[in-house]
Amino acid sequence: MNNQDFIRQSDGLDSKSRYAKSIWQAIHTDPPLLLGISLLCGFGLFVLFSASGGDVPVVRRQALTMVVGLVVMFIVAQFNVHFFRQWAPTLYAAGIGLLGLVLVVGVAKNGAKSWLDLPGLPSFQPSELMKFVVPMLVAWYLASRPLPPRFKHLFWSAVMILVPAALIIIQNDTGTAIMVTMSGIFVVLLAGIRWRIVIAGFIALLLASPAWFIFLAQEHQKNRILTFFNPYRDPTGAGYNIIQSQIAIGSGGLYGKGWGQGAQSHLDFIPESNTDFILAVLAEEFGLFGVLLLISVYLFVLARGCYIAYAANDTFSRLLAGSITLTFFFYVFVNMAMVSGLLPVIGLPLPLISRGGTSVVTLFIGFGLLMSIQTHGHSRAI
């Protein structure tokens, strides 16, 4: 509490010079991050136009979603990150409550019963909120404890992560559960958990995976794993998506077939070409150079996120910024690796490129938090 008092004082001292520094600071916006996000959004709309076969309403709806996302990001950035720190336990409790509510009155869409249709509110997925609420709570918990965390703290962190993850798995939404878990784990990793625990955990996971595969995995999950190792065991069924996706990527070559010229996507050989498999469209039409360009923009955004985390002034901000950035990376990597056949198929979209609603807004909330950390905290560094 002393620390916070100190901060408030110095905040007041520096306020004049901060306003003078830049207009961006004033509106709590980080220009490099905004640039990277805008490039990704533009690129995404460009690819989506082709992937949807020139479907203007689809592109327009996606553009609108992005505008909404940017507005949400801007609003989130106006709050000092410590506001979220104070509210983290409350948000978390509310999130768990909503997840419980979903189990009772939730609506199923696309096989996952994860939607809430509350009167007076647009329908939304409480599980999406947990993607930033969980790292917020874990960061809040660990930041006020000596680091590296003790075993007792790790235990409670694990409970904080696994309770919502379990509730989301019950909703039959494994993809989101993995993301929520990973966002929490990233906090723990960044908080300085000892390497031997990390390595031990990793080995334990490796040893447990065969047991999971044999006893716990559902049929479609087993299929995905088997298909990953040999797509041609069922080329027209389970392996169809990945085979067609690889054909699309491979036939794109270095320079691609040109915008709107992707035969694989335009003749409907690529399934989910607007959503999870949009990278295949991009790779087919823009070639290796197109994908490298996209990766570069992603790297730029990631680098900026890492810088924000690095430059943040307090542990909570650092942990939250680091987790948000790494979660974003995790998204990007898992999708790209899955579409190119480096990982089994997991239903995750490519951030800011794939068509989609709620998950896009969640991403922008994350970017808003990053901007809040960057623009509210720096005055304190002096």
Binding site: A191, G192, I247, G252, R318, F333, A337
Partner: protein, 657 residues
């Protein structure tokens, strides 16, 4: 104390965090590197392979079937047309679970078991992979809509337009024009590589009649196109195309109007009518009754319809009576008489005294005169060749045949096409039997007995001839020995067709050309010699033909015949004790040509009528021949015989052209 501890901790935590962030950064770069390596592998190293796979996905070379040539009759009436229909087709390789898909289709458009079975038969045939196989021909509009709406659930299922054969006259010329039907396994196996290629896009092939005989002309040459297809097998773009060459349109000598008349003239009888233009050999009409609807076969006849056609043992609608042999009976008498004249066995003055039967020396059996069996007893009395023909006296011909011997009879009759197929392009026609010593030894392992010759001299016993053969033979008499081999094909794409005949049949030459006139006169008497005071001196067909139509403007040369189906003794027949069942009744035959004995115009039509179990050649088959001849000469050729009598040369030359 507390503040100090926290500040120190703050620094350590920052260092710890920075270290961890660094490690994370390294992981990020490593993982991206792995991803890029994978992408380079796909997009650079394996580019050629995936590029080919991508083209293989979307580009399909497919056959473009040629449109089948049309078949026209003599007057440009369509006998075989091509009609567009919409087929439901399946590309096996693009369908996941076939049974599941078929079950689902069943819920949409009710597939019958028959359809499923036929489809699996089609699938089993040798076929090029990724070609479409018809599941149902002729989709209704409603079914088309149901398929189209659910097409996203039906990969590999498509609706394809196709032209299929349609026979506008249905039953009318089913046997002679024939039909096309799906290519079967045996036909595919018989193809050489070139043919298999040429039939790559074709589902149908000519099975019978003209459709089969001129399959090569009608089919045409297959074309190719390269198309881009989407993942449901729908063609999105055509990239390259080699047009097919359509089959030739052909015209036949067949006259559908005459065909209709002949068909109607047969009435409810089973039988056949073959009419030939003796000047060209062109077949004007070739009817076999009962017929069947050839359209049933085009899109795959259902088992039910097919069994109806094949289980009818009496009517046997699929059986072509015009090209299958029957005992010719008395219709062979003019030919045998001509042979007697030629070989000097009889002359114009030769007569026999007919007691009503014939006996071989030393044989007790009496060969009765069948023509008399329903009449009052006794014989024809004083009988020469002419009377033997117009009264159809068996005894005269028993004697003539006996003296001629089977060897001479065989060689002379063979010149008229008995025992052979003179037709140029009806290779499926049977040859019947013109018996000989060699034939009997080869087929029966028995020597030839003199009694066999006696039976043969009235067209019974071993002698068998098709209606087509009879019409051909009588056309040779009409032509006074000149042989014009019968043919169906008149023109290809409007260009008159002259077939190259490998072994042309030699004309029939007799010692004295006047014999032709004599035979013509005798046959004319069959039709026109009226009743008079003298017992049995009228033509056998006079009552049914010339007397029935006293206005008949032309003369017709004919010969009736009644061929025994089973041997029933005269006593039993005359006693009236038993009723002869229908299939055991005699076959009725009549051969004729017209106009006969006309100094102004040559014969224009030669005809053979066969009526199965019709009993009486002259009274049943004769009027049918008369009706067809009338229709041809008076309605179709519109010959004005009255004007001709008055010597209108201009008109005559016009007709003769």
């Amino acid at each position: 104390m507390t503040g100090k501890w926290q500040l120190k901790d703050h620094e350590a935590e920052r260092t710890l965090f920075s270290g961890r962030l660094m490690v994370a950064g390294v992981f990020v770069l490593l993982l991206f590197t792995a991803l890029i390596i994978k992408l380079v592998n796909l997009q650079v190293s394996q580019y050629e392979y995936f590029s080919a796979r991508s083209d293989g996905n979307r580009l399909h070379s497919q056959f473009v079937p040629p449109s089948r040539g049309l078949i026209f009759d003599n007057r440009g009436q369509l006998l075989a047309d091509n009609q567009p229909i919409f087929n439901l087709t399946v590309v096996r390789e693009q369908v996941g679970d076939l049974e599941e898909t078929l079950d689902y289709l069943d819920t949409l458009i009710d597939l019958s078991d028959d359809e499923r079975e036929q489809f699996s038969n089609r699938l089993r045939r040798n076929r090029v992979p990724f070609t479409s196989v018809p599941l149902r021909y002729v989709l209704s509009e409603a079914d088309k809509a149901k398929i189209a709406v659910n097409s996203f659930k039906l990969p590999g299922i498509a609706i394809e337009p196709q032209f299929v054969r349609q026979y506008p006259l249905a039953d009318l010329a089913a046997h002679s024009v024939g039909y096309v039907s799906e290519i079967n396994r045996a036909e595919l196996d018989s193809f050489d590589d070139e043919e298999r290629e040429n039939y790559g896009g074709t589902n149908h092939i000519g099975k019978t009649g003209i459709e089969r005989t001129y399959e090569d002309l009608l089919h045409g040459t297959v074309g190719y196109e390269i198309v881009e297809k989407n993942n449901r097998g729908q063609v999105m773009r055509r990239l390259d195309r080699t047009d097919p060459i359509a089959g030739k349109n052909i015209s036949l000598y067949l006259d559908s109007q005459l065909q209709i008349v002949a068909e109607e003239a047969l009435g409810d009888f089973r039988g056949a009518v073959v009419a030939i233009d003796p000047n060209t050999g062109g077949i004007l009409a070739m009817v076999s009754k009962p017929g069947f609807d050839p359209n049933l076969f085009v899109t795959g006849i259902s088992n039910k319809n097919y069994s109806v056609l094949v289980t009818d043992e009496i009517n046997t609608p699929l059986f072509d009576r015009s090209t299958n042999p029957y005992p010719p009976g008395s219709t062979i008498k003019p030919f045998l008489g001509l042979g007697g004249l030629h070989h000097g066995l009889v002359d114009y003055d030769f007569t026999i005294e007919d007691p009503g039967y014939f006996r071989l020396p030393g044989v007790r059996y009496r060969w009765g005169d069948y023509t008399l069996r329903t009449a009052i007893g006794g014989g024809h009395g004083h009988t020469n060749l002419q009377k033997a023909i117009y009264q159809s006296c068996d005894t005269f011909f028993y004697d003539l045949g006996n003296r001629m011997g089977i060897d001479t009879m065989h060689s002379f009759m063979a010149q008229f096409g008995f025992g052979e197929n003179f037709a140029v392009d009806i290779n499926y026609a049977r040859t019947g039997v013109l018996p000989s010593r060699d034939w009997k030894r080869a087929t029966r392992g028995e020597p030839w007995y003199p009694g066999d010759t006696i039976n043969s001299s009235i067209g019974q016993g071993f002698m068998w001839a098709t209606p087509l053969q009879l019409a051909t033979a009588v056309s040779i008499i009409a032509n006074k020995g000149k042989v014009v081999q019968p043919r169906m094909l008149k023109a290809i794409d409007g260009v008159p067709y002259q077939p190259e005949i490998q072994d042309p049949v030699a004309d029939v030459v007799v010692n004295d050309p006047d014999y032709w006139r004599y035979i013509e006169e005798s046959m004319s008497m069959v039709v026109h010699r009226a009743f008079n005071d003298v017992f049995r001196e009228y033509g056998t067909a006079y009552e049914a033909i010339a007397m029935a139509d006293r206005e008949m403007p032309y003369r017709m040369a004919g010969k009736s015949g009644s061929a025994q189906v089973v041997g029933i003794s005269q006593e039993i027949l005359q006693s009236g004790d038993i009723q002869v069942s229908d299939p055991n009744k005699d076959h009725a035959l009549f051969i004729a040509y017209a106009p006969a004995e006309n100094p102004n115009i040559k014969p224009q039509i030669a005809i053979a009528v066969f009526v199965e179990n019709g009993e009486h050649g002259s009274s049943v088959a004769g009027p049918i021949a008369k009706r067809v001849t009338d229709a041809y000469l008076l309605d179709i050729l519109q010959i004005d015989f009255a004007a001709m009598e008055s010597g209108n040369d201009e008109l005559i030359s016009l007709v003769n052209e």
